[in-house]
């Protein structure tokens, strides 16, 4: 009985959640599975790093996972957000085991202006880049006219995560 009572409430809440996610392209989990289809686990890890050394704002803590197939490390998966013009763009960056970008996905884009960064040809420009490559908008990464701020901030975000992977010490969280 309790269960039956709860179903309509659950359905009602689900439709509210759907409205709130009208701007969501992918969930973190969908992006993880797309980036590492062969992974058996995604292990959440914490990064110890000097924010100033990698040019990150104080208090910046992207979510980080190590993608594994059994014991084998397949790569790294980061979920982070940057500001577009005035609101957060949620994005996910996947790096292979060597630290090179394997994919960049937009998870959620809340503003209408500048949402062209979602387009695959633009995101593909990052593939293969490592912390040792320059990743600068208008030089290494081409801009999208009319979406300059989103392009610039995402490019900076990717650069930050590449540096994080290169310089941080990763530890398993203490539970």
């Amino acid at each position: 009985m309790v269960v039956r009572w709860l179903i309509p409430i659950g359905v009602g809440a689900a439709s509210v959640a759907q409205v709130a996610h009208a701007t969501q392209y992918l969930t973190v989990e969908q992006a993880q599975r797309a980036a590492f289809p062969e992974a058996t686990t995604f292990e959440s890890v914490r990064a110890n790093f000097d924010a100033a050394a990698i040019g990150a704002p104080a208090g910046w803590t992207p979510r980080i996972w190590q993608a594994r197939s059994g014991d084998k490390l397949l790569g790294w998966f980061f979920a982070d957000a940057v500001i577009g013009k005035s609101e957060a763009i949620d994005y996910a960056l996947a790096l292979d085991a060597s630290g090179a970008v394997s994919s960049l996905e937009i998870l959620q884009y809340r503003e209408s202006h500048g949402s062209e960064v979602r387009m695959a040809p633009w995101r593909k420009q990052f593939v293969g880049r490592t912390a040792r490559d320059p990743v600068v908008l208008n030089e290494d990464i081409k801009n999208i006219s009319g979406a300059t701020l989103s392009c610039r901030h995402l490019t900076e975000g990717v650069q930050r995560l590449l540096k994080l992977r290169e310089h941080a010490l990763f530890v398993k969280p203490v539970s």
């Binding site: 309790v2 269960v3 039956r4 179903i7 659950g10 809440a13 689900a14 959640a17 709130a20 996610h21 009208a22 701007t23 969501q24 392209y25 969930t27 973190v28 989990e29 969908q30 993880q32 599975r33 686990t41 995604f42 292990e43 959440s44 914490r46 704002p57 208090g59 910046w60 803590t61 992207p62 979510r63 982070d80 957000a81 500001i83 013009k85 005035s86 609101e87 957060a88 994005y91 809340r110 503003e111 209408s112 202006h113 062209e116 387009m119 695959a120 040809p121 633009w122 420009q125 208008n138 030089e139 801009n143 999208i144 006219s145 009319g146 979406a147 300059t148 969280p173 203490v174 539970s175």
Partner: protein, 430 residues
């Protein structure tokens, strides 16, 4: 979820003691299991997960919190953001130094508020020429004010006072976004930036790089045409725009724009605006129709930034109205057009700064043709204005720009301020 587990476990424990029919109990258990599984899937959905996602993907509870600005997991709902831009310009006509002018061209405060992830209000409040009062010629205006609601990640709807989606500049008019102290002539004289109308629009984009925007709204009001003023010659549509200020709105206008950015660095697009502009008033111009179209392209590759745009407008049924304007300096044109090509080169870049020289060539004509009149009353087309602009944008950082340029006009027109000049400007955006 815990609660259902306990409930189900209690049932399981109770089962051996029960004397009820074993098979019926088993069936009920199966049904319960199915319901619990369904609920679990729903709860995962509520948390924004995929129902099949492995639970190991969950972020650790011990991950320290950080500011909402940088962490993806923080909800961005119910946020209010402020932004702004401004520009101060100095124009110095070389042949009329006494007309040199310094002006706080505009100061703009913008804001947005997110009611939830899908629903926003955007606004821009603008002051032009520093001082607005009964004795001064400054303006204070609401430049944009609209509500936007995303219906899906790929498309949504807007309603309110919105920028018309034509050209390269109208929707992206912050001083850091264009080369040269002054906005180009084509996108001020032909496309009257900053052009906005009240209405409703749908917008969206596709994975292949197409973005589109189409709507219905207010339009210009031909009843405002002043044949005695030079304003209609400076910008035919700029002189009769309504800016949603007690706008005459008998006749709705339609607009549509299509842009493609499928190749990084390249953007091409076109836009159209059409409507009756007599606005139902009983006067000789009551049947007039406006049709304005434009095509544009921009290519940014390495240090190079090339763009080109062509716009053309026509106004129908102006013959009778122009007859009433006989002897006046500014009749209503039947056709007006303009185009430009521009090349910029980021010659030097260091830290956040760069020095970008540019050159732009424009041709435009705000009175390219007039409606045919009875013999002897015909109106000659205006000569085409041709302007070369060459200068430098010095970006101290991407959001602060100092500008210098020189403009060469093929013919002077002091009433419109056309004549060779050099310009200095400061612009910012945050």
């Amino acid at each position: 979820m815990q609660r259902f587990r306990i409930f189900a476990t209690a049932l399981l424990l109770a089962a051996p003691c029960a004397h009820a029919d074993e098979a019926a109990l088993q069936a009920e258990l199966e049904a319960l299991r199915a319901e619990v599984a369904e609920l679990q899937a729903q709860m995962k959905q509520l948390r924004g997960e995929h129902p099949d996602a492995p639970m190991t993907a969950q972020p650790s509870a011990s991950t320290p919190n950080a500011s909402a600005a940088t962490v993806a997991s923080e909800p961005a709902a119910s946020t209010t953001t402020l932004w702004g831009y401004g520009e101060m310009n100095y124009n110095h006509p070389t042949a009329h130094a006494a007309d040199a002018q310094a002006d706080l061209r505009r100061a703009v405060i913008g804001f947005s508020h997110a009611f939830d992830d899908a629903t926003h209000v955007y606004g821009e409040l603008e002051w032009e020429h520093a001082v607005t009062s009964a004795e001064d010629s400054g303006e204070s205006e609401v430049e944009q004010l609209y509500v936007e609601h995303a219906l899906a990640p790929q498309y949504g709807v807007r309603a309110g006072l919105m920028l018309v989606p034509l050209g390269l500049l109208n929707e992206h008019h912050e001083p850091t976004q264009y080369y040269g102290v002054e906005r180009n002539f084509v996108e001020t004289a032909i496309i009257p930036s900053t052009w906005r109308e009240g209405g409703v629009a749908m917008y969206g984009n596709t994975d292949s790089g197409l973005s589109w925007n189409a709507g219905i709204g207010t339009g210009p009001d031909l009843g405002k045409w002043d044949p005695a003023s030079a304003e209609g010659r400076a910008s035919p549509l700029g002189s009769i725009h309504q800016e949603l200020q007690l706008a005459h709105a008998r006749d709705p206008s339609l607009f549509a724009a299509l842009n493609w950015a499928g190749i990084p660095g390249l953007g091409v697009g076109a836009g159209l605006f059409a409507g009756k502009i007599g606005q139902g008033a009983d006067f000789p111009g009551k049947d007039a129709r406006l049709l304005l179209g434009e095509v544009h392209a921009r290519w940014q590759n390495g240090p190079f930034d090339l763009s080109a745009l062509y716009a053309r407008g026509t106004l129908s049924d102006t013959q009778a109205l122009n007859l009433t304007f006989l002897g006046q300096p500014t009749p209503v044109p039947k056709a007006f057009w303009g185009g430009y090509a521009q090349g910029a080169w980021r010659a030097l870049a260091w830290n956040e700064s760069n020095l970008s020289p540019f050159v732009r060539y424009e041709q435009f004509n705000t009175g390219a043709a007039y409606a045919t009149q009875p013999s002897g009353f015909g109106m000659a087309a205006l000569p085409t204005e041709k302007v070369w602009t060459a200068g430098i944008n010095y970006y101290l950082n991407p959001n602060v720009v100092f500008k210098f340029d020189y403009q060469d006009f093929n013919r002077d027109d002091t009433a419109l301020g056309y004549g060779d000049r050099f310009n200095l400007g400061i612009g910012y955006q945050f």
